[in-house]
Symmetry: C2
Subunit: 520 residues, 2 copies
């Protein structure tokens, strides 16, 4: 009997044979869906699917005994950043898709408690089924895990999407198999676990986001009571450089609390990718020329930049704010702001998927842009640096990214996402046809060049694709990589055998540093 | 030459002789001002006052060489929780009072960057001097350190006082003398250090709050642009049990964003302590009887509970919200809500210090309540558990705390502070005459009984006094103290010699666990 089969036997004993997958057909589902078919840098050797905290503890203990790396996900929908695939080839994926209970919905204090596999769809359905007049801030695509998105610092769009607004209280299985509760949950039967964000002493919750220090098994999620009125809004500006005054106006309106949610400023190319086929606009070589983008925007009646956003609140307040917003943005020549109020009960009936998403109603409708190049299986890489929410930073990043992406023969497609009143994430969707190996390779290559060049201008990634996690982390080098050395100290203390997600966001356990990756 | 004098020589070499204090007279200033005069459990052996990051690094290296514990403060105004005094007798205090530069005020993105010794007064003055139309969310007493308050999870009252709203970006000297920047600051010359709350990978900022894992040397502080209108407000309710509907109404108004700041619900006894002398109302034995509290409230024309709060925003929105708030609270029989709008420019001229504090204008006016018992040097201990923001939890905590405090012969004086829409900190001010040893001892003793009894009901402290930090931490015992074991693992990894603030919030380094304190 080989070591490997002993390992699989141990996992089978822990979670049952139905919950251990090893066949090539089964494993295919856990590859990066946007990688070229023959690439196998990030393939797992097995998938285990525990359903309880105790099973996770046992899986972790087995991994320690065998020295095998684990890679955890809630649903594994981390598309654009590597999907469900592990950083280290041969890792065992711990898929928590079947650990999907909504453990509590508290109407009085407006929160839910979820397990890792709970999807946006599931929590939304549970809230509706319970008759709660509560709204959930969701991501664009409904199949993702609430917890998975949270732990990767993913974005949602309602007021609790701002900064770290939504999560409160956490349970974590540590690398030694121990289980810990954070905040007030560290006290047995404490009543404030999911209402107060701290406990006594340091608050470790953020330490388990974008890291490999533990496997999170429960989080509290704050929900928003139904407002009197919901008003999805659209801003269109006509010229490419109108991005600057649009961003400056937006910052002012977010700083003074007129807009409190997470908008998206979409380039015409990106919005067109959900409304049309690329071949409609351009069949020549290389990226779509500027004049064709103008034509496209005009014919589709979208802005050269279009902002999706929304207001939530009392009818009178929403009216006041809408008038103020419209007046402020329409000072930009050619710009317009429009939208229609509705009652929260009517959000599921709205036609536009974006207007439903910003109102907390999940769907799969926004998962289609990747077909831009006409391939059957379009893919994208997210390159996503952060910048101050100012017009000059927006133009500086646009110019850098557009220049380099077009130089690589691809279209510049951008969503600027102000995660708070002072900063935005410039999500650059590098879109390619995954059946075209050369184009896929070009996309990966340009993404890596962007990591270095954006860092030189002072912009760092908020989240990194598997294929350049090390490179992205490498840019955070202040004082001889003091931050990474700190992360490594924590990693080695908590996970001396290095079994939890080695390489995640560039953090490697001691035994693997310098060989598999990371700093030497 | 003794080891001790070598130590002092080393410190003197590092920071200069003027910045090393060892005389008894000098050290007196760094005692807990509210401890009884002869108590010496928490006295320091020396104070060093570095003025630069490099000096702090050198002080930390010296402490490692000599194995001497350090205890750091910004200003040391942690009154009610031990003031500037260290947990371990003989520790060397690292006082950062002289490291007090405002390093930057950014008008465009509305933030400041401060060193540890910057007081509320200093930052307020710097903002005014620069002509910035920006407001700072402040604590009640202006002499405290902005950073010190932040690192102890202290409370401020404007919108950025909610949860962890205000701090963004951090620089920390670690126990090994290394210096690290968090978030985007981990990338050299990154532009988003003080505008985006994370970086790439885990976010460690909260790990340096209420802990002993590092010495923080810089933080970013978010400021609020002047609103059109500021409206300080007062709610009075007439009966003791009106606390319940007041809290339930408040939760609804905070959850729907009508009130977004940090209010205080004050017991009549607490408010009376700033408006009058205790002897005016009661000269008998034991605590003031209930009927006398009613009489006091009536004669002072204050509520049995009085809430201080405020609105900030556009004139029309403030008007709408005021009408809504007034209507909601005045459903409680006898309750009234009142206040007067003003322009932000006029806040410094407001007569009531609370109305200035909620408007970001610091003073020393709210530092007087401790004289309640008529002693020259009144003191207080803060006992401060957290509870869900519901009427039933407010009454449950009130009944527990009032019963026990009155049983000890003291007056129940409470400020309920909703730190967000879902939870409040019940700050119980146990007030005593520090010249009266028996009364001081009784206050300490009852605080300790409260720690255990509140925990039994599911309420834990948000912050603990030096004298019962271990006891408070001991209550966070879920899964055999998993959280504390986690903190100890981090502590031992980052600070193997245990030189940084041993015992802080119950976290002890390996060598001292079980002997000096903490878990065995």
């Amino acid at each position: 009997m080989t070591v490997a089969s002993t390992l699989i036997d141990d996992f089978t004993d822990a979670v049952g044979s139905d919950a251990v997958l090893t066949s090539e057909a089964d494993l295919r589902e856990f590859r990066d869906p946007f990688a070229f078919a023959t690439w196998d840098d990030y393939t797992a050797s097995a998938v285990v699917m525990p359903e309880t905290v105790e099973q996770i503890q046992e899986v972790v203990r087995i991994a320690n005994r065998h020295g095998v790396p684990l890679w955890t996900h809630g649903q594994g929908r981390n598309n654009g950043y590597g999907g469900p695939a592990p950083r280290v080839r041969g890792s065992v994926i711990v898929s928590l898709r079947n650990m999907n209970r909504v453990l509590e919905i508290n109407e009085e204090c407006a929160y839910a408690v979820v397990e890792p596999g709970v999807r946006w769809f599931d929590l939304y359905d549970a809230i509706r089924a319970g008759g709660h007049r509560l709204m959930l801030s969701i991501a664009d695509v409904g199949w993702g895990s609430v917890m998975g998105n949270t732990l990767d610092n993913g974005v949602t769009y309602m007021p609790y999407g701002v900064d770290m607004g939504m999560q409160c209280g956490m349970e974590v299985v540590l690398a030694n198999g121990d289980v810990m509760r954070t905040g007030m949950g560290a006290m047995p039967d404490n009543k404030s676990w999911h209402v107060y964000k701290r406990g006594l002493g340091p608050t470790p919750d953020q330490l388990f986001m974008q890291s490999n220090f533990g496997i999170v098994t429960k989080i509290g999620v704050w929900l928003m009571p139904y407002p009197e009125v919901y008003m999805p809004l659209w801003l269109r500006v006509r010229k490419d450089d109108d991005l600057a005054p649009a961003v400056d106006t937006l910052r002012t309106l977010m700083l003074d609390d007129t807009i409190r949610m997470v908008p998206q400023l979409l380039s015409a190319t990106l919005l067109a990718s959900v409304l049309s086929e690329r071949t409609q606009w351009w069949q020549g070589e290389g990226p779509i020329p500027d004049a064709e983008i103008d034509r496209m925007a005009s014919e589709l009646d979208i802005g050269r930049w279009t902002m999706r956003f929304a207001l939530y609140g009392d009818d009178a307040v929403v009216d006041h704010r809408f008038a103020k917003i419209k007046e402020a943005f329409e000072r930009i020549p050619g710009a317009d702001v429009y939208g229609t109020k509705c009652a929260p009960e009517d959000i599921p009936d709205l036609e536009h998927p974006v207007e439903r998403v910003q109102g907390g109603v999940p769907s799969m409708d926004l998962n289609q842009m990747a077909a831009w190049y006409g391939g059957e299986e379009g893919g994208h890489i997210g390159f996503s640096p952060v910048a101050p929410l100012t017009g000059h930073d927006a133009l500086a990043l646009r110019d850098l990214l557009r220049g380099m992406i077009e130089e690589a023969g691809l279209d510049y497609m951008a969503a600027l996402i102000p995660i708070n009143a002072r900063s935005f994430i410039h999500v650059t969707l590098i879109i390619f046809d995954t059946k075209n190996e050369a184009q896929t390779r070009a996309a990966y290559d340009v993404a890596k060049r962007l990591v270095r060049d954006a860092a030189k201008l002072g912009y760092g990634e908020y989240r990194a694709h598997l294929d350049f996690m090390d490179l992205a982390a490498e840019q955070y080098s202040w004082n001889d990589h003091a931050y990474m050395r700190f992360c490594e100290t924590i990693k080695d203390a908590l996970d001396p055998n290095g079994i939890l997600a080695p390489g995640k966001q560039g953090i490697w356990p001691k035994a693997m540093r310098g060989s598999a990756g990371g700093r030497t």
